[in-house]
Symmetry: C2
Subunit: 203 residues, 2 copies
């Protein structure tokens, strides 16, 4: 859909997306009907189809905005930071902060990944984020700070820890984002094992 919107129109569109986001996250995408969305706003059904060609399009639009917003937050967090390891840490912190404030969008992203027709739209966004993280890893490897493992794999490991901890500790247990972020950073950078003192050999 591509329409010339007046300020009033833009506000309606925003309302529709905001309300739909909430209902999709609470109830699921499919169980939430268009009728329910327009009723929730107290408007007629035609309003919905004035702004979106279909329910699917609305959902894709929500996903797109979410990804743009997260990416903006990440980019801002890396401003002025040059050290690759600290860039990774800052990226994790930014992601955790954003995640804490957008519980609903996290759920929608997770759902989108399970439905073949939404997955492609998601894939593109994730690839960019992973490529970014992988670049920092590569820089860290080059500067001798990070172990020489597959950067792509490490990037996904970072993503995995971050999203899992966000899901459980932020959204289920409502713990402070910065503490969870710090924990994620520590675990990822240093691992679980207590370092063996150099020269200590099992005998």
């Amino acid at each position: 859909m591509d329409r010339r919107l007046t300020p009033r129109g833009r506000e309606r569109r925003r309302q529709l997306m905001a309300f739909a986001t909430r209902r999709f996250a609470e109830n699921g995408y499919h169980p939430t009907s268009v009728a329910e969305i327009v009723q929730g706003l107290g408007v007629g059904k035609g309003v919905f189809y004035w702004y979106f060609t279909s329910k699917d399009e609305l959902f894709l639009e929500i996903l797109k905005e979410a990804q743009q917003d997260l990416r903006r937050a990440q980019r801002q967090a890396l401003e002025g930071e040059q050290d690759p390891v600290r860039r990774i840490a800052q990226g994790i912190r930014a992601t955790m902060g954003w995640s804490a404030e957008h519980h609903e969008l996290n759920k929608l992203v997770q759902f989108a990944a399970t439905e073949e027709r939404f997955a492609p739209a998601l894939r593109r966004g994730q690839e960019v984020a992973v490529r970014d993280a992988a670049r920092h890893v590569r820089d860290g490897v080059a500067s001798g700070q990070i172990k020489d493992l597959d950067p792509d794999l490490l990037a996904h490991a970072i993503l995995g820890v971050t999203t899992q901890l966000a899901r459980v500790f932020l959204h289920e247990r409502h713990q402070p984002a910065d503490e969870v972020a710090d924990a994620a950073v520590t675990v990822l950078l240093e691992g679980l094992l207590v370092p063996e003192p150099a020269g200590t050999v099992a005998r």
Copy 2:
């Protein structure tokens, strides 16, 4: 549903669950209708409702069996292994192996987590797995092998890395499960950073 099933009945039930699993994973839970499932098997609709009281019940049944099966694989992998760190590593390897062979079930679990009415059934199973992992972490902390961080957090970090790497490297890129598992173990145990030689201080 609880019925006395003959061998023939058990086979039908198995067929229904297998076919539904495939369709749910390919198409999504909601977009797959009961009509489609029974058509896929070439039977009447009544067959479905002879074995399951509802579509939801079928889905929960699939989830339950999947969790039991994964848990069995994990338990078997830990047999005879006492060292907590090696138990963690073996658990990761078992999970990765199972995940590689049950792509479809992974997707269903991921979907179930996004729908409020299925999440509780999932939660119980995950809690058990996490509690198990956390116990090994605690043992490792006690024996001085693992850093003294929150065992629950570490357990979720392990889970996060494992599921993310499984999703991307096994299901999207079809890489060998044992290689991915080894990479996951390495990253988790040792972290990203190159260890600083003792005595080296930034100045």
